[in-house]
Amino acid sequence: GAGVSQTPSNKVTEKGKYVELRCDPISGHTALYWYRQSLGQGPEFLIYFQGTGAADDSGLPNDRFFAVRPEGSVSTLKIQRTERGDSAVYLCASSQSGTSGGVGEQFFGPGTRLTVL
């Protein structure tokens, strides 16, 4: 079956612009995660959805970052007033179970490489 897909694969924008990054999880997966991976580092957690609601947004760096998942499937990560420091690969993952203590493996998408000039 299809894995996690993310669009666009690459996004180049100018400082101060607004961007949206899309994630399409594996069908039937209730949990969805966003991570950010800067060059030479491991992925860092941003936000986690269980269904339509954000169960944990403790990793969002500031209020310029926002994510939605209105129908419990596709999610959009939105970044306002982009800064050069936002340049990174944004990864999305999904899992079957997101409940605390659940053991659902997280399946990762290919990522969106964001470059802010």
């Binding site: 991570y35 605390s100 990762f108 998408g109």
Partner: protein, 114 residues
């Protein structure tokens, strides 16, 4: 907050050499542990995972890892590497006090020379 350390940032081996990549985490409670691999041009994929039970976990492609609770470690091993194992390897931990987020180490870039 929990953290994960991978002390080897770059490893270069010849084919057939044995591999051990270190992973240490800082959390005293219950943990789930993972190794992910990212082959060149591909996305992260799971190599193996530990949730409970036998601390020696076997994964895909001949990889295994051992959870040593007293050392807060989950080192990855493979007896004989192949050129196709060239990739970046990430250790990750999920703790019982941080919901379902994964905390990743900084990664180890492995190059296997043919």
């Amino acid at each position: 907050a929990q953290s994960v350390s991978q002390h080897n940032h770059h490893v270069i081996l010849s084919e057939a050499a044995s591999l051990e990549l270190g992973c240490n985490y800082s959390y005293g409670g219950t943990v789930n542990l993972f190794w992910y691999v990212q082959y060149p041009g591909q996305h992260l994929q799971l190599l193996l995972k530990y949730f409970s039970g036998d601390p020696l976990v076997k994964g895909i492609k001949g990889f295994e890892a051992e959870f040593i609770k007293s050392k807060f470690s989950f080192n990855l091993r493979k007896p004989s590497v192949q050129w196709s194992d060239t990739a970046e390897y990430f250790c990750a931990v999920k703790t019982n006090n941080a919901g379902n987020m994964l905390t990743f180490g900084g990664g180890t870039r492995l190059m296997v020379k043919p």
